[in-house]
Symmetry: C2
C-alpha cells in the first residue's frame, strides 16, 4: 500500500506536546501545518489560543490534549479542561481515559467521564479518547473502546506518546475491529517514518499523531538513519519525554 502525500497530510495531527516547548516552536508547528495541509496541530492547553490565532481562517484545526498524559484527574477537572480548551479555540479534544478505573473494572466511571467531556466540548467538537494501549490487556482495550463509543467519542486513540509503548499495527487493527467503520481510529506514539505511517493506515487508522509529520509527507522518514535508530521500536528509546 502506498499513499499519495496529498492524501496523507490531511490524516495527520502535527504534534508537539513536550513540556519544555516554547511559543516559537508552537508557531513553527502551525506554519508547517499550514504549509503541508495537516488535519490539525495537537498541542497542550497552554498553547491552544496561540495556535488558534495563528490558524484562524484555515482548514487546520487545533486539537488540545486533556487530562494528559496520565488520565488520572477527576472527571470534573477533565471536563472543565476540555471546555476551557474549546473556549480557547480548540476544535478537537484528545482526552486520556482513566486507565486505573478501566483496569479496575469501573466502567461506569469511565463511561460517565467520557460523556462529561463530550458534553463539555459541545456538538461539533470531536473527542478522541486515548486508551494508552501499552498499559492495557487486549480485553481492556476492547472494553475501553466500547465505553468510549457508548459515551459519544468520535475517535479512539492508541497512545499518548509518553507511555511505555506507542502505536502498534496489532492494536490499531484491534481498535478498528472493535469500533467498526463509523468511529475514528487515531494511531499515535512512536510513529516516525513514512513506512510506519502507511502501516498504521493499512491496519485501520484514519488519523495519525506524530511530530515527524513533515518528514513523513516528504517520504524522508526512512532516509534519516539517526532518527530511525533512535525511534524504533518506540518503547526502547529510553526517553521519558517522547518527542511527540
Amino acid at each position: 500500500m502506498s499513499i499519495d502525500d496529498r492524501a496523507l497530510a490531511p490524516m495527520i495531527d502535527h504534534t508537539l506536546l513536550k513540556p519544555e516547548a516554547v511559543p516559537a516552536q508552537i508557531e513553527r508547528l502551525c506554519e508547517e501545518a499550514l504549509q503541508h495541509g495537516f488535519a490539525a496541530v495537537c498541542v497542550n492547553g497552554a498553547w491552544v489560543s496561540l495556535a488558534a490565532r495563528l490558524l484562524s481562517g484555515s482548514d487546520v484545526a487545533v486539537a488540545a490534549v486533556t487530562g494528559f498524559p496520565l488520565g488520572a484527574g477527576t472527571s470534573t477537572a477533565k471536563a472543565f479542561e476540555a471546555g476551557d480548551a474549546v473556549a480557547g479555540g480548540a476544535a478537537e479534544v484528545d482526552v486520556v481515559i482513566n486507565v486505573g478505573a478501566l483496569r479496575a473494572g469501573d466502567g461506569s466511571l469511565v463511561e460517565a467521564e467520557v460523556r462529561a467531556v463530550v458534553e463539555a466540548v459541545g456538538a461539533g467538537v470531536p473527542v478522541k479518547v486515548i486508551l494508552e494501549t501499552a498499559l492495557l490487556t487486549d480485553e481492556e482495550k476492547v472494553r475501553g473502546c466500547r465505553l468510549a463509543v457508548a459515551s459519544g467519542a468520535a475517535f479512539v486513540k492508541t497512545s499518548t506518546g509518553f507511555g511505555p509503548g506507542g502505536a502498534t499495527e496489532e492494536d490499531v487493527a484491534l481498535l478498528r475491529r472493535t469500533v467498526g467503520p463509523d468511529v475514528g481510529v487515531k494511531a499515535a506514539g512512536g510513529i516516525r517514518t513514512r513506512e510506519q505511517a502507511e502501516a498504521m493506515i493499512a491496519a485501520g487508522a484514519n488519523r495519525l499523531g506524530t511530530s515527524t509529520s513533515v518528514q513523513i509527507v516528504q517520504g524522508a522518514g526512512n532516509l534519516a538513519p539517526c532518527r530511525v535508530g533512535r525511534a524504533r521500536p518506540p518503547a526502547a528509546d529510553g526517553k521519558p519525554y517522547v518527542k511527540e
Copy 2:
C-alpha cells in the same frame, strides 16, 4: 549525617502517580502512610477523595498533583483542578510550573499562574511548585524559584518523576540557597534508597517524594540490589513511567 526513622517518616510524601494504579493500590498506599506516619500520600486527582476518606482524622495529609506531569495546561485549568482537589479533600497541592513559559522568559505568566493556584486552594493549603529541574538551566531554576515564592508557594520541588531526570543534590542545594530557610524544598524523582534520602536532606530538602518510602524508613533501600540497579541513576532506567 544519619537520621532517625521517626524523624524521617514525617518528611516523606508517600507517592503513587502511575496512571495504571488501581484503587486497591491507593488503599495500600494509605495504609502504609498511616502505619509509618508519613507526611502525606501524593496521588493523582482521581484518587484524592478515596485517599481523604481513608486518612480522615489522621495526621497524614492528602497531596494532590495538578497540571501533572507536563505543567502545560492553561492557568485557568490548573487553578480549577487545584480547587477541585481541595474540594475533594486534598490538604496540599503539587503543581507543575509552565516549563515552556519559564524557558521563554514569560515570568508574568508563571507568576500569575502560581498565584491563581494559591488563591484557588485557599489559605492553609500549601502549594508546592514543581520546577522539573532536568529541563531547566540553573538560571531558569533560580528564576522559577523566585517567581514561585513571590506568588505564595509554600514549597519548591525539583521533579515530577516523569521527566528526563529526578532530584539531584546539586539542584536541592541550589533551590535551598535560592528560597532561603522559610520556604520548603521538596526533593522528588528517583529517590529510592535511605542513602539518597539522607543526601537530599543534607543538601537542604525538608520534604521528600518517593514511592519506596517504606523501604527507606526501614533502611532497606540499599539491601535490594535489583531495585538499586534499576533506579540509579534515575534518568537511566529507560522507563517512561517512573514508578513514583
